[in-house]
């Protein structure tokens, strides 16, 4: 099996697909901009800032933006599953590390 053929075969096995086109990238850019506008708008509404949903809402919007860039611009949605594993594995470790440290140093707590 030639290198190229082997490469293509593995790409297919790993779930690799064609990347999106320029129009789809443009739509993604518009969505990212709109989410950013909503985030900043919320920051300037005192009633929203006082709301218990403010911080979780911002975190969710940020996570959505993060996911969109990783899936579409970094092509993780379309590329080989090994790349997904190489990224999501350390990401999970990083998130767990942040959460553990915040609990350890008292910035987060669970009331029993």
């Amino acid at each position: 099996m030639s290198h190229d053929a082997k490469h293509d075969a593995h790409g297919a096995d790993g779930g690799a697909h064609a990347h999106p086109d320029g129009n789809k990238y443009l739509k993604v850019a518009v969505i990212l901009t709109l989410i950013t506008v909503v985030e900043v708008w919320a920051y300037y509404i005192p009633a929203l800032v006082e709301s218990p949903f403010f911080n979780p809402g911002l975190l969710i919007m940020s996570a959505v933006k993060f996911g969109i860039v990783v899936l579409f611009y970094m092509h993780l949605k379309f590329d080989h599953k090994l790349y997904r594993a190489l990224f999501t594995g350390p990401m999970i470790i990083a998130m767990c590390t942040i959460m553990a440290l915040l609990f350890l140093f008292g910035q987060l707590s669970i009331k029993l």
Partner: protein, 232 residues
């Protein structure tokens, strides 16, 4: 020695374009950049953790979201400038858009344009234009950061002033250093494109690897913008 190893060795011997596939069938340079990005996730997680742990524990101001008056009566307003940072965030997001179009332009090189192409279809073929646009937007982001750092120092917030200053400058400074490296990388690709043209699978991969790094720098900023600037 396996067939693939033998073929790879032959490829080196005859001086042809080298393919760097691993036993997975994937190019090892792309595996390497994803592994590097994974390790960078943990680096920035440690920096973000440090910022969040120190949040609200500074004894003296200036503070990020609250005004503060010192014992001598000196007044400090809330130091974060959200409009300026929102603009720089938009610039970095658009740089990711330009980067993904630069990669697409390299991938489309050699394929025919449709009949009566629109401006948008023609512009999608300009790898040099999109690479230059990405580098300029990255440099603009760095300009915003230089302005922010300078104004903070003038307002009394230095890296030694308080816990907020130490963790803020360390985190955003590391990110700025990554953006600087990315801009230099982009300028190198632009120089290669202008001198001999980026074409073929090997050059596509060079741009793809740079694009992955650049988008990672962007997603790190997405997290920083929310956690440091917006959440109180």
């Amino acid at each position: 020695m396996t067939t693939s190893h033998t073929a790879a060795a032959a490829g080196h011997d005859d001086g042809h374009v080298h393919h760097h596939y691993t036993t997975t069938g994937l190019d090892h340079r792309k595996i390497a950049i994803w592994t590097f990005i994974g390790s960078e996730c943990m680096l920035f997680a440690s920096l973000i953790s440090t910022y969040l742990i120190y949040k609200g524990r500074s004894i003296v101001g200036p503070f990020p979201h609250e005004a503060w008056t010192s014992e001598t009566g000196q007044q400090f307003h809330a130091i974060l400038d959200i409009p300026v940072t929102s603009a720089s965030t938009f610039v970095l997001l658009m740089s990711s858009f330009a980067m993904v179009l630069a990669l697409q332009a390299v991938q489309l090189r050699g394929t025919p344009l449709p009949a009566n192409p629109t401006w948008w279809q023609r512009s999608q073929r300009s790898s040099q234009g999109w690479l230059l646009m990405t580098a300029l937007l990255g440099a603009t982001f760095l300009g915003f950061q230089a302005y922010e750092f300078t104004s903070f120092v003038h307002e009394g917030l230095t890296i030694k002033r308080n816990l907020f200053g130490s963790s803020f400058f360390t985190l955003t400074g590391f990110h700025g250093a990554h953006v600087t490296a990315g801009v230099l990388w982009l300028m190198t690709l632009l120089w290669i494109d202008r001198s001999r043209g980026l074409q073929g699978k090997n050059d596509e991969l060079l741009v793809d690897i740079c694009a992955l790094y650049w988008h990672f720098v962007d997603v790190v900023w997405i997290a920083i913008f929310t956690l440091i600037y917006l959440i109180r």
